[in-house]
Point group: none
Chain length 205, copies 4
């Protein structure tokens, strides 16, 4: 069980292992990564890794939970999701891009498909604990006329999240490079996707 983020420290072996595993997984994929390189990168023996994680699957789950939790904290610490507004949307977008820029490996890892087969219930629970409050926020935004009331909240999340992931993935794969200005433009585009377009706007144009 890794220490909470703010207690992270380099002497904590499980934390070091999780950190190393995240980087190696992000680079070579889950199945593509043997255990020894993870241990080596963490500066411990293989046996030590297995002292802290029952098996590879448990390690993947630990990495997933830790990373998802860090994303959640980064995204929501100190913000009031109960007051949806354009400013709040911008704030979340900034935090999201900040996270992706500062933790490229974490971001890449979270987007892998193949870890989904590995995830246990706790891990899925964590995943939901991030999505649910955002869904709530969207519902409120719809009720106060800010967001498109016809777009189901879960689909809005998927759309917005997918779009965000799309541009960072394209960048990671070398298809494009994104400057800060581009990020702002993309942010506005995403906003247009989910906001309420009253009357004549919308389907027509």
């Amino acid at each position: 069980m890794p220490a909470p983020q703010h207690l992270r420290n380099e002497d904590n072996k499980p934390d070091r292992i999780i950190k190393a595993a995240l980087e190696v997984f992000a680079e070579h994929g889950l199945h593509g990564t043997p255990v020894p390189p993870i241990a080596r990168k963490a500066g411990v023996g293989v046996g030590t890794l297995y002292r802290y994680f029952e098996n590879k699957e448990a390690l993947v789950n630990a990495v997933f939970r830790d990373t998802k939790q860090r994303l959640k904290d980064h995204l929501t610490d100190g913000v009031d999701l109960n007051e949806p507004s354009r400013a709040l949307f911008n704030e979340l977008w900034d935090r999201l891009t900040g996270f992706a820029r500062q933790n490229p490996a974490a971001f890449r890892f979270l987007e892998m498909q193949d870890h989904h087969a590995y995830l246990d219930n706790d891990s899925r629970q964590i995943e939901r604990s991030l999505l649910v409050p955002i869904g709530m926020m969207i519902l409120q935004g719809q009720q106060n006329g800010l967001l498109n009331p016809q777009l189901r909240a879960d689909i809005a999340i998927a759309l917005f999240w997918g779009g965000f992931v799309g541009i960072f993935k394209a960048e990671a794969q070398g298809y494009l490079t994104i400057g800060d200005a581009d990020l702002l433009t993309a942010r506005d585009a995403c906003w247009q996707a989910i906001r309420h377009h009253p009357k004549s706007e919308g389907i027509t144009q």
Copy 2:
């Protein structure tokens, strides 16, 4: 080298192998799939598979190219990308959802991360050959005032494609179920993301 799509036939062994491989890869992932099950599903011996594909990596590339090409054909056959319009956008969206619905395995496979490490230059070339014409279309749409001129074409693609992928991935992972009406709403949302919002609209609100 598989025959072109319209020449596909069940007596063609490479084609049968590619088809089988796509299904197995989509279900179990790239690293999770041993070669013998692919051969078995294709109704050939392992040795035969290796007659047509130098190794597993070559097979992955063949599957990728074939699938991407089919997507491209499905998306662009008979449409004139030189005349961007709301109707063309709708048409493309419909074709895209049609493809995803009719070829879930193909869609799933194309979205896997881990095959990217396997892809050779030819495969990346095919990928680009789908993106470039769409990029051109977007540029034209920006010039004729239809699309947001501030949103870079490549980013627009990534955003739109990412959003699309996002909702289908969420559905595949069991986080939501999408009806036909939802697809239309999502289509409109994506359109709002990339269209041109003149004057007062857009950043403000």
Copy 3:
């Protein structure tokens, strides 16, 4: 599934593996034997061994069943257990010693304790199929006054079998050497243990 004994041949890989495994197990024990040496001794690759035996445990069971079956055949082929007599006892003893002399590895292997943890139901069934007819023979011998009626058949078997095993084990461990004459004397001693000692004999003296 190995071929029946008389169909054994050196081109049959499972048979060669079973034979090799028996020898190595007998020499180094079950846990003490890695899989590669077995494969090497059988003249096959490790992968081949795993083609024929799902895992090490399955191999142990196969060796056990094969060896026990050979012992059973060697012991009972062509003898009529329904006619217990001193001559039949002698015949069985001779066959038993013959087996132990000709197949020291087989004998050693069958007496290992630690394989009992590995045995599945089929294997235990084979074991019983050897003991039951001998038990029946003893019962008949008791009924016709030949054998001690107070000695339970199962205990008589255990005693006789244990005594037999005892001397061969002692020899295998280097505590003694047994000549043919000694074997005859031992045979008579065992006979005395289980035969019927009428009247004054027996408890007294």
Copy 4:
């Protein structure tokens, strides 16, 4: 080096380790038992165990010697082996069954095959120190006409000991259950095996 039996005490760490090791070995076998569980059961750290026993092999030898010595003591303390008689035989049998009943783990352990590969000269010496006096006793019994003079003493021991082991092993493996009366019958049977059968008795019948 453990304290002599009568000095055994629970504060003596080597003794506690030997006791724990015996139980775990008897239950899981030699190779099947990792060292840490032994240390845990003994209530000491692994490092401590290695302070007293150079390695696992040394521990096995210590357990063997200790157990064999206890058997020897249990069997011979206070009896005069120089006066062979039916009563002495009965006494020895009773002590033997008593030991097996009271120390099932010890008995099971002594009968394991795979420890023989581990045993050093001292351990084999102890084994002999139990067998030799019994052998002497048998020789005397043969000289005074009590025991079968044709049965070599070492073979008689092996036979008798093997028979005894046979029935307890069969019980341990679940093939039979032995009551006190059965033990007496078995005792008489063993006695018949080794006693002197004068004249017409014996070979004939």
